[in-house]
C-alpha cells in the first residue's frame, strides 16, 4: 500500500509550514476485508493560514486528520508522513501524541451535543486541559477558563462555568469546545465540521469566531466541512477531497471562482446561493382553490408539571394563520425554537393545536372523528428531519415503503403492492433492488429518499417536509431539494417545507413564512422576500446564509447577528424580536406589532418596516 506522493504540492517549505502531510494513506481492516479510507493525501498548512478541506461525507476528510492525531480505532492502518513543527506524528509514540493533542494541536468536533462530557461542569472541562498540560493549579486553571469563555464570546461566563453541557444551547456548547481547544494556545486548530448541526445564524457566529481567532491568534487552522459557504468565509486555501483522495488544491478564490476539476465544478455550481433570479416564480393560481387554511393556530406545552406544582405554559406556536393553494409551495423558516416543527406537526394534527383551526379542503381537521381523519391522512403526508431515525430499523425498505398502502389501500394484494413499491422507489431515484435492504445499510441521502417514497406512495395532495435535509451534507441536500421540486411539479401537490436555511427554501418555495419564537414575522412571495426583505429578522436570516463567495462572505460573517433567541418560556414584551433587533426603539418594547398588509401580497409584523 505504500505509495510515493505524486501530487504533493510544490511549494517552498520554510519554517512557516506548521503541518505537512505527505502521501498519507489510511485503511481499516474489517471482517469483510481491507477498506481504504484515504490514500495519497498530501497537504500543508502554514502559520496564520486556514486550509479548508471540502468533500462529501465519506470523502476521507475527517479520517485523514484523526489518523495523524492517533485517534482512529486500533484496526486502522496509517502510512505516509505527517510533519508537525518538526515532529513526525506518525512515528511518535502514544505518550508523545498525548502531549501534543490538546496542547499544540487543538481539535473541535462536529457534534457539540455529545462531544462534551455530560457529567462534568463546563469550567472543569476547560480547566482540566490546563491542569493536565500546563500543570496549573485548579484555581489558576479555573480563572483562565473563565477568561477563555469570555474570549469565545460566551455570555455570563462566571455562571456558565458551573453549568453542565445539557444546560447550554448548541451554539454555546460549540463555543465551549473552541475554548477547550484554545486553552493551551495551540499552533494548529483542527475544526471537524464545527457548524454542521447548528442553525444558520449560529453557524455564522461560530464561523465568524473562527475567522476572528485565526486573524488574532495567528495559528494555523484546518476547517473540515462539506459546505463551500463555510470555507468561503474563513479559509485561505481549499483542498477538495473525493473518495479518499485530494483532487484539487488552491487558493480559496481560485477554487470557488475557477475550479479545474469537473467534480469541483459541479460542487461549486450546486452550492446554495441567494440569487435574485433563481427563485421559484409564483404561478398564477387565481382560480386554484385554497387547499389548506390555518386560522390563529396556537400550540402550547405545559412545562414542569408536577402533582402539586404549577405548570408553566410554553407557547411554541402563537396565532399563526396562512392559506395554501392547491399545488402551491410554502417555505417556513426560522431558527431552532421558532416553532417550525411544531407548526408542521400541528398542520397534520400529529399535535393538537391548543386553539385555532386547521381546515383542509373544507374539512376542519381538529373536529373530524378519528376514523375520518385517518382516511384523510392519505392526502396529508410528512417527511422527517432525521432520515435514519424515522425509518423502522427492523424492517426492509420494501416493507417501510409499502406500509402506507396496507393502511390506505388494503384492497391491493402483495404483488400489486410490490409493483407500487418498485415504482415509488424509482420515482425517488432509487433502484428497485434496494427494497430488500435495511435502513442502516443505506446512506443518509438514500434513507431520506426512502422517507419520501413512503410519503409519496399514497399520492398525497399535501406534503409537509420537516427540515428534510438539515442532517445531510450539502451536495445531498441539493439532490433531495431537486427531487422534491421535481415531484411537486409532476404531481401538483401542495408543499410545506420547513428549514432554517433560506437558500434551500428559495429553490423550492413560491412563498415564505418567517417565524420567530412561534410568532409570524413576515409572509411574502419568495421573489419579493429575497429581493427586498421587510422584517429585520428576515434580513438577518438572509445574511446568515453561507455563500460560496470568497469576496463577499468574510464581510458577511463579520456582520453576523449576535446572541441567541430568548427562552420561549419567558418571551420579551412587545415585539419578541426586539432583544436582538438592531433597529429596536421604545415602541417595540411596549406594543406587539400588528400583522400588517405591506402591499403585493406581503404581510409583516414590525413597527418600523416602512422606515427601514
Amino acid at each position: 500500500m505504500r505509495s510515493i506522493p505524486v501530487n504533493a504540492e510544490v511549494t517552498p517549505q520554510g519554517p512557516a509550514q506548521v503541518l505537512r502531510l505527505c502521501g498519507l494513506a489510511v485503511s481499516f481492516t474489517t471482517p469483510a476485508g481491507v477498506v481504504c479510507a484515504a490514500s495519497d493525501v498530501s497537504l500543508q498548512v502554514a502559520r496564520g493560514e486556514c486550509l479548508g478541506v471540502v468533500g462529501e461525507s465519506g470523502a476521507g476528510k475527517s479520517v485523514s486528520f484523526l489518523a495523524l492525531l492517533g485517534l482512529l480505532p486500533p484496526n486502522a492502518r496509517v502510512q505516509g508522513a505527517a510533519q508537525f513543527c518538526g515532529t513526525e506524528l506518525l512515528r511518535a509514540g502514544p505518550r508523545a501524541l498525548e502531549r501534543l493533542r490538546g496542547a499544540a494541536i487543538g481539535m473541535v468536533f462536529q457534534d457539540p451535543m455529545t462531544s462534551l462530557t455530560p457529567h462534568l461542569r463546563i469550567g472543569e472541562q476547560i480547566a482540566e486541559v490546563l491542569v493536565h498540560h500546563r500543570k496549573l493549579s485548579w484555581a489558576a486553571a479555573r480563572a483562565r477558563a473563565q477568561q477563555l469563555l469570555t474570549r469565545v464570546h460566551v455570555t455570563d461566563p462566571a455562571h456558565r462555568m458551573a453549568q453542565y453541557p445539557h444546560e447550554l444551547s448548541g451554539g454555546m456548547r460549540q463555543r465551549v469546545m473552541i475554548a477547550i481547544a484554545l486553552a493551551c494556545e495551540p499552533q494548529l486548530l483542527i475544526a471537524d465540521e464545527p457548524t454542521t448541526s447548528l442553525d444558520v445564524t449560529i453557524q455564522a457566529q461560530i464561523l465568524a469566531l473562527l475567522a476572528e481567532l485565526k486573524r488574532e491568534q495567528g495559528m494555523a487552522m484546518v476547517l473540515i466541512t462539506h459546505d463551500l459557504g463555510a470555507v468561503a468565509g474563513v479559509a485561505d486555501r481549499v483542498a477538495v477531497m473525493r473518495g479518499g483522495r485530494v483532487i484539487e488544491t488552491g487558493a480559496v478564490a481560485a477554487i470557488l471562482n475557477a475550479p479545474h476539476d469537473p467534480y469541483t465544478q459541479a460542487l461549486v455550481r450546486n452550492a446554495p446561493r441567494l440569487t435574485a433570479s433563481a427563485g421559484v416564480t409564483q404561478a398564477a393560481r387565481g382560480q386554484e382553490a385554497v387547499a389548506l387554511t390555518l386560522t390563529d393556530v396556537s400550540v402550547e406545552f405545559s412545562v414542569g408539571a408536577r402533582w402539586f406544582g404549577r405548570a408553566a405554559a410554553l407557547s411554541a406556536v402563537n396565532a399563526v394563520s396562512f392559506e395554501l393553494r392547491a399545488g402551491e409551495s410554502l417555505g417556513v423558516v426560522g431558527e431552532s425554537g421558532a416553532g417550525k416543527s411544531t407548526l408542521a406537526r400541528a398542520v397534520l394534527q400529529l399535535l393538537k393545536p391548543s386553539s385555532g383551526r386547521v381546515v383542509w379542503m373544507g374539512a376542519a381537521l381538529g373536529e373530524l372523528p378519528a376514523g375520518e381523519l385517518r382516511a384523510l391522512r392519505r392526502d396529508l403526508q410528512i417527511i422527517f428531519q432525521d432520515p435514519l431515525a424515522s425509518l423502522d430499523p427492523r424492517r426492509t425498505v420494501g416493507e417501510i415503503v409499502a406500509e402506507p398502502l396496507r393502511v390506505h389501500a388494503p384492497e391491493l394484494d402483495a404483488p400489486a403492492r410490490g409493483l407500487e413499491v418498485d415504482a415509488a422507489l424509482r420515482r425517488v431515484g432509487l433502484p428497485a433492488t434496494l427494497a430488500g435492504r435495511y435502513p442502516h445499510e443505506l446512506s443518509g441521502g438514500e434513507c431520506q429518499r426512502v422517507g419520501i417514497a413512503r410519503a409519496m406512495i399514497v399520492k398525497p395532495r399535501l406534503l409537509v417536509c420537516d427540515e428534510p435535509v438539515s442532517a445531510l451534507d450539502t451536495p445531498t441536500q441539493q439532490q433531495i431539494v431537486t427531487l422534491l421540486a421535481q415531484l411537486q411539479c409532476e404531481s401538483g401537490l401542495s408543499l410545506v417545507f420547513v428549514s432554517h436555511n433560506l437558500a434551500l427554501v428559495q429553490r423550492l418555495c413560491e412563498r415564505v413564512l418567517v417565524l420567530y419564537l412561534g410568532r409570524m414575522m413576515e409572509l411574502a412571495p419568495a421573489q419579493s422576500l429575497y429581493a427586498r426583505p421587510l422584517h429585520p429578522y428576515t434580513r438577518e436570516l438572509l445574511s446568515a446564509v453561507p455563500l460560496p463567495d470568497p469576496q463577499l462572505q468574510p464581510a458577511r460573517l463579520a456582520r453576523a447577528l449576535p446572541g441567541e433567541p430568548p427562552s420561549p418560556l419567558n418571551p420579551p414584551s412587545g415585539c419578541v424580536y426586539r432583544t436582538r433587533c438592531p433597529h429596536a426603539v421604545a415602541v417595540c418594547q411596549q406594543r406587539v406589532p400588528a400583522w400588517e398588509l405591506a402591499g403585493g401580497d406581503r404581510q409583516v409584523a414590525c413597527h418600523r418596516w416602512r422606515e427601514l
Binding site: E98, F109, D111, T117, P118, H119, M177, A181
Partner: protein, 307 residues
Amino acid sequence: MLRYALRRLGGLIPTLLVIVTVSFCIVRLAPGGPFDQEQTLTPAVRANLDHLYGLDQPLAAQYLHYLGGLLHGDFGPSLSQRDFTVTELIGQGLPVSITVGLLAILLALVIGIPAGIAAATWRNQGADHGLTLFAALAVALPSFVTGPLFALVFGLALHWLPVAGWERGAPRYLVLPVLTLALPVAAYLARLTRASLLEVLRSPWIRSARARGLGGTRVLWRHALRPALLPAVSYLGPALAYVVTGSLVVETVFGLPGTGRYLVQGAIDRDYPLVMGMIVVYGALLLLFNLIADLLYGWLDPRVRHE
C-alpha cells in the same frame, strides 16, 4: 437535593400502603387457613381460635385492624409459632438477615465493579476472557450448589472456616454465607459494568477527551466511569430482591437464625401476620434501595438531577 430526598421518602408511604393492601388481599385469597393442618381440632375449638385471632370478623374489619396495628409497629401475633408476636420473630431474625444481605451487596459491589472495569480495560485479552467466563459461571450456578460446595471445600476439606452457625455474628461464621450470596450479584455487576463501560468508551465525548491529550487513566476515571456505573446502580434494587429471596437458601444451608425461612414457611402455614410482616419489611427495604439508586443516579448523571 435533601428536600428532594425527603419528599421522595414521604412518597414511599403511599406506595407501601398499596403493597400492604394488595398483599393482604392476595394472602387471604390463597385457599385454606392457618389451622387447617391441625386435624384434631373440634369445631368449637376451631371457632375459639378464629375468634381469638379475629379471623371470624369481616375481611375489611381485619384489614383496618391490621393497618391500625402497623401504625404502632405491631405486626400482630404469629399463628404458627404460638407465644411469639411477629414483631418479636422479625426483631430477632432481621438483624441476622440484614447483616448478611448488606455485607453480600457490599462485597458484590467491591468485587463486581472493579472486575467489570478491569475486563473492559483489557477487553478481548486473556484477563477479560477469564473474567467473562468466570462471571457467566457464577451467574448460572444457584446458591444451593455453591453454598454446600463452599462448605465442603473451605469447611470440611481445608478446615479454614466453620461449616455453619451464627455465634452472634462472629466474622468467621459470616464469610461463607456472605460469599455465597454475593457471588452471583458480583458476577452480574461485573458483566453490566464491562458492557456499559465499553459502550461509554465508544462515545464521542471520550474521543473528544482523548483529542485534548488526556491520558488513558484520566479519561477512564474522570470521563468514562461515572456514566458507565448507571446500569450497575439501577441493578441495586433487583440485587436486594435477589438477596432477600436467596437468603432462604443460604440461611438454611449455613444454619443462620435469619428471617429468610419465615416468608416461605409462613406462606405454607398460612400464618397471615408473619407473611404480611415479612412483605412489609422487605417491601420497605426494597423501596428504600430503589430510592438510594435514584439519588445515586442524579449524582452520576446531572441530566436526571432533580430541581
